[in-house]
Amino acid sequence: MILIESIRETIAQLLSPKVAETLFEHLEKVYSIKKDEVPSRLDKLLLTLKTTFGSSSAQVVGKAIARRFYSRLGLEFSDNPQRTLVGYVENAKLTEQK
């Protein structure tokens, strides 16, 4: 839930609330991914952002989502240029388990 909120808030702030709204509808319609399943299908979310806004923008948005997600979890965010949103989320899970 924290990740979904981070995705929604970040996209609404960086792009537009309408984009955030439509994004979840699009994922459900095209990939049959319900809103609560998005955290386990982040690859499709990133693909959709890339197709619409280009890879550079998708990268920036992905990193901003990760930053917000880490902040919500109270984790320290360290920038890694090679890491995608999927990697950041995996890393957060591992850090939480420790």
């Binding site: 609404a12 702030q13 960086l14 792009l15 537009s16 609330p17 309408k18 984009v19 709204e21 439509t22 994004l23 699009h26 959709t48 952002l49 890339k50 197709t51 619409t52 806004f53 280009g54 890879s55 550079s56 923008s57 998708a58 990268q59 920036v60 990193k63």
Partner: protein, 251 residues
């Protein structure tokens, strides 16, 4: 070919033919003045529809709002210019109150794009920055090469000379920003719209260099065919705005 491009080409051809056809007519000045009012008015409406489509919140909305305000101010400038010429019978109202609107128009467009690019700056690659800045430098060079000589020998007052330089320089700045926007969205569905916006602003920059040169050397008159470059620029802007207006939020 999409219908919008076909409409753009047809309008561009018709207005070009009309420009040459009316060259010896008394209607040339008023007709061409109001063609510009219509063109910038349509661009303003399209920019407003882009805002309606994408919403008024978020960083993208600030870009759209800036574009709308800027183009609307240019529309007011074109209207003021037309009123000067057709109602007040001022032959070439330059500089005039119309320039206040024209110059103010650059501010919201630049502010909107810059605040967006500031957030997305890390996504900009070096190659994109080189291309955008290279084209910007090319326009600065063109402005310098074409205008500096005539400016030195011109008898125009300081204010007019300042405007002669300000327009091409401000245009170059917007061209650079629009190309940056293209590179931010490169590879995505949004990039195409920014190619058109960039092209529109590029033609606008060329037109302003030509206009400044024409007024400095005294060969410009209202309805001169060089105005067509600016008109084609408006068509480029309209195509870009129409694409943004119809673009799916996500795809």
């Amino acid at each position: 070919m999409r219908i919008r491009y076909l409409v753009g080409i047809v309008v561009a051809v018709l207005v070009t033919v009309a420009y040459f056809w009316l060259q010896s007519s008394e209607l040339l000045g008023p007709a061409t003045d109001y063609v510009f009012v219509l063109a910038s008015g349509i661009c303003s409406i399209l920019a407003f529809l882009v805002i309606r489509h994408w919403g008024v919140r978020g960083k993208v909305a600030a870009v759209h709002l800036g574009l709308f305000l800027g183009i609307f101010l240019w529309f007011l400038g074109d209207t003021a210019w037309a009123i000067y010429e057709t109602v007040l019978q001022v032959e070439i109202p330059y500089p005039s109150f119309a320039d206040v609107f024209y110059l103010l128009g650059y501010i919201p467009i630049a502010v909107g794009i810059v605040q967006f690019l500031w957030t997305f700056r890390v996504g900009l690659k070096r190659q994109g920055a080189f291309v955008a800045l290279g084209i910007g430098l090319l326009f600065f060079g063109l402005t310098y090469a074409f205008l500096i000589g005539p400016l030195v020998v011109s008898t125009e007052d300081f204010l007019t000379k300042s405007y002669d330089v300000a327009y091409p320089v401000l245009d170059s700045m917007l061209v650079v920003l629009a190309i940056f926007m293209f590179f931010v969205f490169r590879g995505g569905k949004m990039a195409g719209a920014w190619v058109w916006v960039s092209l529109g602003l590029l033609l606008n920059a060329l037109a302003d260099i030509a206009f400044s040169l024409g007024s400095l050397q005294g060969w410009y008159y209202s309805g001169h065919p060089i105005e067509l470059i600016q008109f084609w620029g408006y068509i480029g802007l309209a195509l870009g705005l129409d694409e943004q207006r119809n673009a799916p939020m996500v795809s």
